[in-house]
Symmetry: C2
Subunit: 293 residues, 2 copies
Amino acid sequence: MIDKDTKFLIVGLGLIGGSYAMGLTRQGYHVSALDTNEDSIQFALDHQYIENGAVFDEKLIQDADVIISALYPLTMIDWISTYQEFFKSGILITDVSGVKQHIVETVQRNLRKDVEFIASHPMAGKEVSGVRNSDDHIFEIANFIITPTPNNSKRAIAFMKDFAAILNFHHITTLTPKQHDEMIGFVSQLTHVIAVSLMNTNDNTHLVEYTGDSFRDLTRIAKINENMWSELFFLNKDNLIREIEDFEKELNHLKQKLADNDEAGLKALFRQSTQRRTLFDKIDKPDQHKSNQ
Amino acid sequence: MIDKDTKFLIVGLGLIGGSYAMGLTRQGYHVSALDTNEDSIQFALDHQYIENGAVFDEKLIQDADVIISALYPLTMIDWISTYQEFFKSGILITDVSGVKQHIVETVQRNLRKDVEFIASHPMAGKEVSGVRNSDDHIFEIANFIITPTPNNSKRAIAFMKDFAAILNFHHITTLTPKQHDEMIGFVSQLTHVIAVSLMNTNDNTHLVEYTGDSFRDLTRIAKINENMWSELFFLNKDNLIREIEDFEKELNHLKQKLADNDEAGLKALFRQSTQRRTLFDKIDKPDQHKSNQ
């Protein structure tokens, strides 16, 4: 497991950065943080999520054994490029971004050769953001995905697996950046596209009083952080457009069954969806404390 | 309120019929039931949901002051047409169907003139069906919609409001059959179309282990009763096709923003969906005991 003397630096104290800080501190590690928002740093210090923190302090960068960027993807690329001169030789850098291909390629191409960037994605979250909503229990029902490339060392991959285990992630796995982005285009980005589009269909607000759980479940994620998600969507644009088009084919398929009065065809679609969804029930059950992510 | 001597007959002891029986009996009314499945009747008798029950018994029909059809829509039309000769003069008949226009028109047109059919829709349910899953608490978070026509009396409308109040429905309202079917096409049927189509998009079953709550929330209702929902869809086909097409327009709108690299346009869609969905939060909060309907 990871040496307790390891010094972690978290850059960006939002919900995920803050929850990482909580979890690592709870497990007895040394955690510092940088955030451009002084209030976020003060909150994390006051609540003992971190030992040290600042809006900027190159000493904290120089001391770090592991740097975790919990910034938005493009901000992270800039940050690493700007501050890598301060990195201690031999350190690991990881991230929390929801898309991987562009980021991993760019960061690994531009990085100093005596340090290592290994990307990872904690598939965890809440409907609310910011360090004040930090909660390291969100990881207990979440996937942790490591996306190594041929540039990554076995040591770094093993380290990330230990890191995820320390934070009690439910399921730890590795994918290539390409596999990751295809998967996330379907299971996360397409679902957000659907929720947003359903919420924007016609002016439906007069129907609020008639909605039941099915409509509310489908649209919960239509409350969306516009800056983060637009960045994630554009960074995975080709995969996402393809997923939307595949989904549209299925919609049209069902619509055609209706138009053709094809009862047997419609029922066959219902049976297929029922059978497939049943596979997911095995996963529904463990998370009693269902989040709204 | 409704006289305690009123004799209710429930035709069709599924989840809703059974839950109505439970609730009415709990409130001290006389409840009988007919169901072609003898086991369902026996279960309801054993659990004292009903006083009397049979696979068929014309005496129970003759004694009823209020008949509630909890059958599928087309089965109900047949049942009323076949057995109305046994109805006591002056009785009320209601239903539980999820679509209204076709049913109300057909039943009212063919009904004896000395009895009255007033349609209603309890927007309640569970993921599971059948009398064994009966639970009259499902009404406490649900809408009850009465869909009167000019053929209906004030007495009948008032009776249905009292009926819904007895069963503790959360919200009781009236709509025309046409308004009802347009509303249900959007808030219920379109959501099921989306869930089924998402579940059927490509072969996504290898992604099970990566799905989070957003995907699971969107697809929960993709486990669908093929017989009931195909009947409901075809009975509301024109509305539903129009809703699917309106939704597709929104999907294409969002896809175009991506294709055009129109960041401002994409963010505007996100802001609109966020604002609209916020209106629904007021409704999210009361139902702590969230069902998976």
